[in-house]
Symmetry: C2
Subunit: 146 residues, 2 copies
């Protein structure tokens, strides 16, 4: 990478605002794409999370919500045929949620429908991609707390 700074370095507050704006726009795009397939944000996030089978309680952890909410979220995915519950062999209390073929199809369509985000990130060249990726990797651990 080059070492010259081509314009005045923005303040920490500026960077925070800019990244927040990009993140907010991304989530709007994601929610809109999910809604076109009959899912709200939580349900679509859950569908992404069960690409490998996940127990109900672990799914609650990934979604950052209480376990009681997961029942309704997975009910909706099952009603649409996008995921199903399986009894766990080792512990009969546990139910494991797994995505269906139809679920994978819908997940792919949601990704394709995120046209704004697709356009935005697809417009970056290889060098910009590497830079943005490494910046995210550097910033994220600090943002998620020590």
């Amino acid at each position: 990478m080059g070492s010259t700074v081509t314009s005045t370095a923005p303040t920490t507050a500026d960077l925070m605002e800019a990244v927040a704006a990009v993140g907010a726009a991304y989530f709007q795009d994601f929610a809109a794409a999910a809604a076109r397939h009959g899912l709200n944000s939580s349900q679509a996030k859950a569908l992404k999370a069960v690409q490998e089978p996940v127990p109900m309680r672990a799914l609650a952890g990934r979604l950052g919500c209480d376990a009681s909410n997961v029942t309704g979220i997975v009910d909706r995915l099952e009603a649409l045929g996008l995921a199903h519950r399986e009894a766990a062999a080792a512990d009969r209390r546990v139910k494991i949620v797994a995505i269906t073929e139809q679920g994978r199809t819908v997940l792919g369509r949601i990704r394709d429908d995120m046209t704004r985000a697709q356009d935005a990130f697809a417009s970056l060249d290889d060098e910009q991609r590497v830079t943005l990726d490494s910046l995210c990797r550097q910033v994220l651990p600090l943002l998620l707390g020590q």
Copy 2:
């Protein structure tokens, strides 16, 4: 800037996920900082939006919510002494919301309290700052739609 790509360029989907994760962590930090000052995310966002005086209806537009919600949000800011309503001189139907000195103080404290985000973005060097800033400026217009 240099022109060498130092590692494999990530896919568009990878970049979307990475930026989304950074954005989500930022908003968690923001909400937690606001809560320490008795405000929820919407109220804190409104406080930021009224640093210059804004009519109620325009504020609804900035917050991306229905005008009926703004009444309660501004009620809360007024109850805490962080903002106040002023009658508009030109049109007596309009009420203009303005931040108070105390509001500016609290807004500054919320920013200071965003320790995770502060640490994360303060860790970047000048070249990284310029790069991230320019990437956000490039990506944001596309994300916000044509």
